[in-house]
């Protein structure tokens, strides 16, 4: 009896220790962005059947902004998440998601215009990106990653974002 209690105690201490370690470990921002992208895909409904894959397209220049390897080839609701590097935003029309990092407003507006009414979830790190027509804008608030949603743009694109996701948004346009 005593021995069993002792082992229990040891085990719980060990587990607690591990958990504490995990908790204390700061997650790198790039990984967080990757997780966010993944989660956005998770709470999004696309109008047309997308086949067996969800294509996340990234413009060539932005490759370093998040740890793509963390989420690539992961399943989202049974579909494989693929990451495709595209050279121009025009090529994004065949994607389900498009991620662009911090861009100038003019560039953003150009991309928004190009993809208008196309069911591609657009995500950006650009400040006020959402206000300029991007669907989701990721931002840092008090060192914590958050996001804004331009739901009008989402609807125009015939996409549906889960209400659960919307609840989490800092701002909804």
């Amino acid at each position: 009896m005593m021995l069993r209690h002792f082992i229990k105690l040891l085990l719980s201490l060990l587990l607690f220790g591990v958990a504490t370690t995990v908790h204390a470990e700061a997650v790198p921002e790039t990984e967080m962005r990757a997780a966010y992208l993944y989660n956005f895909a998770l709470f999004t409904d696309w109008p047309n059947p997308t086949g067996d894959t969800i294509r996340l397209c990234i413009l060539k220049a932005d490759q370093t902004d998040f740890a793509t390897e963390k989420i690539e080839n992961k399943l989202i609701n049974g579909k494989l998440l693929t990451i495709t590097t595209i050279s121009s935003s025009n090529a994004a029309k065949g994607c389900q998601m498009l991620y662009i990092s911090s861009y100038q407003s003019s560039s953003v507006r150009k991309i928004v215009a190009e993809l208008e009414d196309t069911p591609v979830l657009t995500v950006t790190d650009t400040e006020n990106g959402a206000a300029q027509g991007m669907m989701i804008e990721m931002l840092l608030d008090n060192n914590r990653l958050g996001f804004k949603v331009n739901n009008k743009a989402v609807r125009r694109a015939n996409l549906t974002l889960s209400a659960k996701l919307l609840r989490l948004a800092k701002t909804i346009y």
């Binding site: 587990l15 908790h23 989660n39 998770l42 709470f43 659960k164 996701l165 609840r167 989490l168």
Partner: protein, 695 residues
């Protein structure tokens, strides 16, 4: 044990009520337990369902917050749980086990944080754990802790209501069953009452009025049937008993009553007397017994037949009954014997009164088959306990007294005296001895000579019987002859005497002279013997004694008792040449008419007349008259008991030719008589002086 006894002694009414109570309470307890149990699980399941639903909603809502690690949002979502009052707190943990978000019921006072642990689940705390899934992956865990207090409260209220309802139902059932019980206990009570009545009053005509068709009704029917049966059997028994009583009465009548007189018989008498003696002994009171023996009843039976005898007995019974008090009882205890038991007023005076009355009543002639018949009675009286302490002695006393009365000449009564007993005993002894006496050669004949007073020559002898008893010595004929007559022994004795005397007469005739006669006494009983004539003639034949030398001496009374048949026999004897004389003439019931009827040849003057001669002038007158009578009838006369010369002279002077007595010789045995005869001059001439010297 005591409970079982208590239960056994409890009335069915109470038992039924108790059974109702126990059964109802048990049933209610079961129902209550099942209901509470069911309610408990129902409540619990509802709660769990509720928790499940809540958990699902939370899971659904919180997934995004979880995905984005938005603790604030997650806690907002969790706060929706406040609408579920049972939920105390909730907690979301990430898949790595780390705490993520939590909810606490606002009313919870303790703010201290502690992880919800499944192991903390207990009777008042339900802890549920749910996996939170997102994208088919467990991303966290939802723990919900719900308090069960609310459930217990609901259960408590529910049980209160159930118990209230149960109590109401029990009360209702109690009132109802009390009334319904009456339908069972009332008939049972009625039956019990009936059976008690039966046992107490033994009245089997009552019937149970319970008519229901249930078991009590069956019992009631059975009881009624049984009563019918008993009543029927009673009736049968009664009639059987009545028949049996009738039969017994008939038997009793036959066994205890005499069908000739209608009087109780000897059997009844014995039983009755035994009871009466016991009663008298207890009451210390006297009791009298009167024995009545009819005199001369046998004559009626013999001459007029048994029917006449029965008729006479009937009339006698009537007359005896007339003489009695109501409480006296008369029984016929023998052929002509009656006995009276005096219960009340049993004292000698009263007994004497009754005896006199009976003798008086019997004195009047009875008319039997157109014959006037006179019947006397010899009556003996004895008393208990003054004269006899036992029934047997009482009876023998009365018997002795009666025989005494009979021996005193009949038609009188005698009280018992103690000395009668000795007499009776002696008599009984003598009777037995007498039976042996003939064979034992104890009997002997003595002879007394009869003398011609003028010639002084012996003319003959009288044969006199003597009994030489080995212990009692010489016994007088006056004592044993009546005994022999009563017992009938007189017949063989008489026969023996006749033959012996005749033989002796023949011997002396050969030796001393052909003319010598022999006088033999002949009793009344012998006279009645049918073979009497034959026997006498046979004796003469075998002894070759001439008939004319035989004198048969009869007493007056034996002649009185006899009738035409006797006269016929005497005439036959007379015709054969035998002489017949009357012995002891003048002492019996003299009726001179028989002198004419009977063919007599001599009279013997009784010694009582001779003995006082010549002093008593009356005796002289009587003797003169007898001698004159005999001379007139031309028959011989002989004087007995002559003891003096004066008497001899008187006889000579008054023409009494023959005499017998001590003056001439006392009775002598054969041997002495022969010596005496041989001493005399022929032809047996007496020389009185010489003779006297010799004696």
């Amino acid at each position: 044990m005591s409970f079982i006894n208590l239960w056994k002694n409890t009335s069915i009414k109470i038992k039924l009520m108790a059974i109702y109570f126990i059964v109802n309470i048990a049933a209610m307890a079961i129902v209550f337990s099942i209901l509470i149990g069911y309610e408990y699980y129902s409540f619990r399941n509802t709660l769990i369902e509720d928790l499940n639903v809540q958990a699902k909603i939370i899971e659904n809502n919180v997934s995004a917050a979880l995905a984005f690690k938005d603790k604030k949002n997650a806690e907002e979502i969790l706060s929706a749980l406040r609408f579920s009052p049972a939920i105390q707190r909730a907690e979301i943990r990430l898949s790595d086990g780390s705490h993520f978000a939590e909810y606490r019921k606002p009313s919870l006072t303790s703010k201290a944080h502690s992880d919800i642990n499944l192991a903390q689940s207990n009777w008042y705390r339900l802890i549920m754990s749910y996996d939170l899934q997102l994208n088919r992956q467990v991303v966290g865990k939802l723990m919900i802790e719900a308090g069960l207090q609310g459930m217990y409260l609901s259960l408590f209220i529910f049980s209160l209501i159930t118990m209230l309802a149960g109590s109401l139902a029990l009360a209702g059932a109690f009132i109802l069953s009390k009334r319904l019980n009456l339908t069972i206990s009332e008939p049972l009570l009625a039956l019990t009452k009936l059976i008690n009545q039966l046992t107490l009053e033994e009245d089997f005509t009552v019937r149970s009025k319970v008519t229901s068709k249930d078991e009590i009704g069956l019992l009631s029917n059975g009881l009624n049937n049984m009563l019918d049966h008993i009543e029927k059997r009673d009736a049968e028994l009664e009639s059987e008993l009545a028949q049996r009583t009738l039969a017994e009465n008939n038997l009793h009548q036959l066994a205890h009553y005499d069908n000739v007189t209608g009087l109780p018989n000897r059997h009844f008498f014995n039983n009755y007397l035994e009871d009466a003696i016991n009663q008298a002994r207890n009451a210390n009171s006297p009791l009298g017994v009167i024995f009545i023996d009819l005199d001369n009843f046998k004559i009626v039976n013999d001459t007029l037949g048994h029917q006449a005898g029965d008729s006479l007995l009937k009339d006698v019974a009537h007359r005896i009954q007339e003489a009695l008090n109501e409480t006296d009882i008369v029984c016929r205890i023998g052929g002509d014997e009656f006995a009276i038991i005096m219960k009340d007023d049993a004292e000698p005076g009263q007994a004497e009164f009754i005896a006199k009355k009976i003798i008086g009543l019997l004195h009047t002639a009875f008319n039997v088959h157109n014959n006037n018949i006179y019947v006397g009675a010899s009556i003996g009286i004895s008393f208990f306990p003054s004269q006899a302490a036992e029934m047997s002695s009482l009876l023998s006393n009365a018997d002795a007294a009666m025989y005494h009365a009979k021996s005193l000449g009949k038609n009188n009564f005698q009280h018992y005296h103690a000395d009668m007993e000795g007499r009776i005993r002696r008599r009984l002894h003598m009777e037995n001895s007498l039976r042996r006496a003939i064979d034992a050669d104890e009997l002997e004949i003595y002879y007394q000579p009869q003398v011609d007073v003028y010639t002084m020559q012996i003319t003959g002898f009288e044969a006199l019987l003597r009994w030489n008893h080995p212990k009692m010595g010489m016994i007088s004929p006056a004592e044993f002859i009546p005994l022999a007559e009563e017992s009938g022994l007189i017949l063989p004795i008489g026969d023996w005497v006749m033959v012996t005397a005749c033989y002796q007469a023949k011997v002396w005739q050969k030796t001393f002279g052909e003319h010598l006669r022999m006088a033999v006494n002949f009793s009344a009983r012998q006279l009645k013997d049918d073979a009497m004539v034959e026997k006498v003639l046979h004796a003469l034949l075998i002894t070759e004694m001439p008939a004319h030398t035989l004198d048969l001496e009869l007493t007056e009374s034996s002649l009185m008792d006899n009738t035409a048949t006797s006269v016929g026999k005497m005439k036959e004897l007379r015709n054969a040449g035998i002489n017949i004389s009357i012995d002891d003439f003048g002492t019996g019931f003299s009726s001179l008419s028989y002198l004419k009827r009977f063919p007599l040849s001599a009279l013997k003057i009784d010694r009582s007349f001779i003995s006082d001669i010549p002093e008593d002038l009356d005796d002289i007158a009587i003797t003169n008259a007898i001698i004159a009578l005999a001379n007139t009838l031309k028959i011989d006369v002989i004087a007995e008991g002559v003891e003096s010369m004066e008497q001899l002279e008187y006889l000579r002077e008054n023409n009494c030719a023959n005499a017998q007595g001590f003056l001439f010789s006392k009775p002598l045995s054969v041997g002495n008589m022969e010596l005496f005869l041989r001493s005399l001059k022929q032809p047996l001439q007496l020389d009185l002086k010489a003779e006297k010297i010799q004696n």
